[in-house]
Symmetry: C2
Subunit: 177 residues, 2 copies
């Protein structure tokens, strides 16, 4: 079965192909995301919108960063913080409580079944950005049990533990049932 | 002409009635707002969605708080900051650059004409919340030229200068053309 991944990010498509071992085609569609801190809600709505436009089995993916000292803010809205405030200022702005949770959700919709698969990983926010520029906030998230940010790890190393890979693995288990 | 104001907030409806002097009916509709810092974009999309459900001339309104030291964040997403982080922590989190801009936009759509009217007011964020609990962030916004927060003013006083009243006055000028 061919699945259409609605995203503008081809790296995510490559990652999904490797994990899922099924035929994935990238589709770029301009779909507006709804306002919510909850990644699950955002992908649920997005998958429905994507299917309405495409009429083919689709997946969408979104990630969120939940900062404990901010009661979970900004969650799914993290990309707006990155775009406006920037990660450097974000690191400075967060107080002493630097615990955070990274979460990714993949939503699959084929017009009948709507399924959502989420993966998450605990960690903390670094004092300042460190490592290679890759995904939005890879340079400031230190996964639990490590001292390095995601961006200081090799991509292989990151992908062994990342929230997104966890979400895609769950989706794979659904596909091969 | 009767206009339908899609909002869950009846205070906003009363305010609009006073300014517009036209027949306004409150309608509660569950419309998801799109993710954007830009209030104008949010109301534009919302007015279209509201009209699609109601098929009658509608107005929607949204406000945003643009914090200068955060490069305009959170804008239209301020309600999520208020709900999660809270205004007390927001006051603490903002650094020395406390300038801000409050903006309100009213979007009118009758199926043919889509018109957007915005009002804005400069100011700064207080060191801590002050005044009576009213709208979300009234207790932390000090309009330029004053030392009091919006919440420390009487409603009449606030409504002489507020961003929302400015937006509604512009809409009135359009109505009475």
């Amino acid at each position: 079965m061919k699945i259409y991944f609605v995203t503008s990010n081809r790296h995510k498509v490559e990652e999904a192909k490797k994990i899922l071992g099924t035929e994935i085609e990238q589709v770029k569609l301009d779909i507006k995301e709804i306002q919510s801190l909850d990644v699950k809600e955002v992908v649920k709505d997005k998958a429905k919108e994507a299917y309405a436009k495409l009429k083919k089995p689709v997946i969408v993916e979104d990630t969120g960063l939940y900062i404990k000292g901010w009661n979970g803010f900004p969650g799914a809205l993290i990309s707006w913080v990155v775009k406006s405030m920037g990660i450097k200022k974000l690191c400075k702005t967060i107080g002493r409580k630097r615990s955070a949770m990274a979460k990714a959700c993949v939503a699959y919709y084929d017009g009948k079944n709507l399924k959502i698969f989420c993966g998450q990983i605990k960690g903390r926010i670094s004092k300042k950005p460190r490592g290679k520029k890759r995904f939005d906030w890879d340079r400031i998230f230190i996964p639990e049990g490590d001292t390095r940010t995601f961006a200081e790890m090799s991509l292989e190393e990151k992908n062994r533990i990342s929230h997104r890979v966890k979400a895609f693995r769950k989706f794979k288990r659904f596909l091969v049932r």
